[in-house]
């Protein structure tokens, strides 16, 4: 809170300085300062104001006028300094270009010098009038107080306020300036890092844009995979009854001689009757098989080894046994299938959940409508519960995977990244505040 207090104090003092210096300027050109006894036709005191003193032929009066000119200039300087320092305070309070603001604030402390000058010059002016025999100071009507004391009083007030200002602002602003210079140096050191950062950010943006362009392709692929998986699931369900899963063509080739017990794995007990030719071990053949899983040769038998279709070899018996479960499927493959099924079911499940929730709510409301005696607060509580369920449902719907998209504001052309769900999202530009909808 130091900054707020300091700026507030500074603003008050500066306004006071401006006000006092303007009054001082007005007084200088308004008041009669001196009087001279004339020996002409009228033997009375002739009063002089600042203008008259400047145009006088008397040398003593002219010297006094020069003092007043200096006082006048000092008041002008004080006014200008006050205005500048007030601008400085506003700039500093705004937080924008605070360094310039601080410099202007520091320059405001020069008011101390000029206020001291005003007091001294005023004192000299009064003293010279007192010392002179022909010139006397003009007095306020019906009082012995001289007009010359009024600007002196204003000068003293100005001095006090400028002392306070320098006392409050000068150490603080110098401290702030020092810290800002340190920050500037630190910022200069970080310029290179910033450049690197900006490069990274641009690269990231580019990659994000590429991702957004790739996303529809990925979705298409995913859809194809899901279609394929659903077909596979149906096949698995059929094959699961038999206790194993293989390609239908190869299934004919691989024949089980005996299945002693359904609990024990069949590979251990009974060896499979494989075709006459032995499986090829070369990598090229394997690659061919992997690339074209549906165009397999009729001669070689194939088995799934950890999600891979490979030619069957009795040496890998143990591995097979570990990888397969009771049904004869690999765990990883099973997991993939289950995830695909789960994905499929999520939407239907969500719909069911919503339906059931709505039904429940309706039932509750029916109960409430039937029981007219139920008090209003109870109704409120139930309604809140209903709303909570509604919120939960909506939150469940909103939990669907989010996409990151770069959006350009049509008004200020500011680019922002947003997370977009399936539902229409409302967005607000962080730069200009324009609202829009991303479909």
């Amino acid at each position: 809170m130091k900054k707020v207090e300091k700026t507030k104090k500074a603003a008050r003092l500066i306004l006071l300085i401006i006000f006092l210096s303007i009054i001082g300027l007005i007084l200088i050109s308004l008041l009669p300062w001196i009087s001279v006894t004339e020996d002409g036709l009228v033997k009375e005191n002739l009063h002089f104001n600042f203008e008259m003193m400047q145009k006088s032929n008397n040398k003593q009066i002219k010297d006094l006028a020069t003092d007043l000119i200096f006082i006048n200039i000092s008041f002008w300087v004080l006014t200008i300094l006050g205005i500048l320092s007030f601008i400085g305070v506003t700039i500093y309070a705004s937080g924008k270009a605070s360094r310039i603001g601080l410099i202007l604030l520091v320059s405001g402390s020069a008011t101390l010098i000029f206020s001291v000058l005003i007091v001294i010059l005023n004192w000299i002016f009064i003293k010279t009038i007192k010392e002179s025999n022909t010139i006397s100071a003009s007095a306020i009507i019906y009082t012995p107080i001289n007009y010359a004391y009024i600007p002196l009083a204003f000068g003293i007030l100005l001095l006090i306020s400028s002392i306070r200002y320098t006392w409050v602002i000068l150490p603080y602003s110098i401290q702030q300036l020092k810290s800002s210079t340190k920050e500037k140096k630190y910022a200069e050191k970080l310029v290179d890092n910033k450049k690197i950062k900006s490069e990274i950010i641009t690269n990231k943006e580019k990659s994000a844009q590429e991702q957004t362009s790739l996303e529809p392709k990925i979705d298409e692929d995913r859809g194809e995979i899901e279609q394929w998986l659903t077909g596979e699931v149906q096949n698995i369900e059929k094959q699961a009854v038999k206790g194993r899963y293989l390609e239908p063509e190869k299934e004919k080739q691989i024949e089980l001689e005996e299945i002693t017990t359904p609990e024990q794995p069949f590979f251990e007990e009974e060896p499979l009757n494989i075709g006459e030719k032995k499986p090829e071990k070369s990598t090229q053949a394997k690659e061919k098989i992997f690339k074209e899983p549906y165009k397999k040769s009729k001669e070689t038998p194939f088995m799934y080894y950890n999600n891979r279709l490979e030619p069957f070899s009795p040496e890998k018996k143990e591995e097979k046994i570990k990888g397969l479960d009771d049904v004869g499927l690999t765990h990883s493959f099973e997991e993939a299938l289950s995830s695909a099924i789960q994905k499929r079911q999520t939407e239907t499940n969500m719909k069911d959940i919503i339906k059931t929730e709505v039904k429940d709510i309706k039932d509750k409301s029916n109960v409430i409508s039937k029981e007219d005696k139920v008090e209003k607060p109870m109704l409120k509580i139930q309604n809140e519960e209903m709303l909570q369920t509604k919120e939960e449902i909506s939150s469940q719907i909103n939990e669907k995977p989010m996409k990151k998209i770069n959006v350009k504001c049509p008004q200020c052309k500011h680019i922002t990244t947003i997370e977009k769900g399936e539902i229409i999202t409302k967005i607000k530009c962080p730069n200009c505040g324009k609202e829009g909808v991303v479909k």
Binding site: V4, L41, M52, T90, I91
Partner: protein, 273 residues
């Protein structure tokens, strides 16, 4: 017949069910609405996006400048009424000490340019004003008001530019206060130029015997245009100070809110934030 009766009964029941259903739905809707109102879950009313305020300081300055220029050029600068040996004189003097009726009075000239011969030659006049002041001061004040009008035009252009280019509010406020301070300076200058004429009244009181010697009695002097100009310059000074203060207060409020937020977060999450 029995079947027909049963059917009729069934139909009646179905109607009743339908009515009940509709009634239930109505109740449900009402309860939902109430609940939404009590909970505040309803779609929030759109925030009133405040339009950027058009700062009218420039327009005000232009109006003031035009008004003051009109005052300088059209209103009389001096109204004088006195009793001379040959009778009462009542005259109006405009800018550059021009009398529209073309009257020439020696006494009026003597007020502004002292014909002192036997006196000690301490002063050329007794009221601190010369004939030249009636031509110099209007010229200088009109220059001042022309600069004020230029300031106003520049500020209005900047303001229009700001609204189109979306300047930040902070920069707009800073520009606002800078222009206001410039207007304050011009206002002070104009006030000090015209204050000379008010100083005359002090000297008229103190130097009355010297003026009466010139053959002028019961003198009534009103400087119409300078008094109006002083009022206008006072208005300019006040407007400028108010604008500067308003801008500063806005910044101060922002600063306070920022600080309070920071202190809250510091209390909650630690000072290292």
């Amino acid at each position: 017949m029995h079947n027909i009766e049963q059917k009729a009964k069934k139909e009646d029941f179905s109607d009743i069910r339908k009515i009940r259903k509709s009634a239930k739905e109505d109740i449900l809707d009402e309860t939902f609405k109430k609940a939404e109102i009590s909970k505040g879950l309803r779609s929030e009313p759109e925030e009133n996006i405040t339009k950027k305020p058009f700062l009218k300081l420039g327009i005000i300055l232009i109006i003031i400048a035009v008004l003051s220029l009109a005052v300088i050029n059209n209103l009389p600068w001096m109204y004088i009424k006195y009793k001379a040996d040959y009778g009462a004189v009542e005259e109006l003097y405009y800018r550059d000490f021009k009398n529209e009726e073309g009257h020439y009075y020696k006494e009026i000239d003597n007020i502004f340019e002292s014909p002192c011969v036997n006196c000690s030659n301490n002063s050329t006049n007794y009221i601190g004003l010369t004939k030249d002041d009636f031509s110099n001061i209007p010229k200088n004040t009109s220059y001042g008001f022309i600069t004020l009008a230029i300031l106003g035009i520049v500020f209005t252009i900047i303001e229009v530019f700001r609204r189109r280019r979306n300047f930040s509010i902070n920069t707009a406020s800073i520009i606002h206060s800078v222009f206001a301070s410039a207007a304050l300076f011009i206002g002070v200058v104009v006030a000090l130029l015209s204050i000379k004429f008010i100083g005359f009244y002090f000297l008229l009181y103190y130097n009355k015997p010297f003026i009466e010697v010139l053959g002028i009695k019961n003198i009534i002097l009103i400087f119409i245009a300078p008094i109006i100009l002083i009022v206008i310059s006072y208005a300019i000074i006040m407007i400028a100070i108010i604008v500067m203060k308003i801008n500063f207060n806005e910044f101060e409020k922002k600063l306070k809110s920022e600080k309070s937020h920071l202190s809250y977060s510091a209390n909650r999450y630690g000072d290292n934030l």
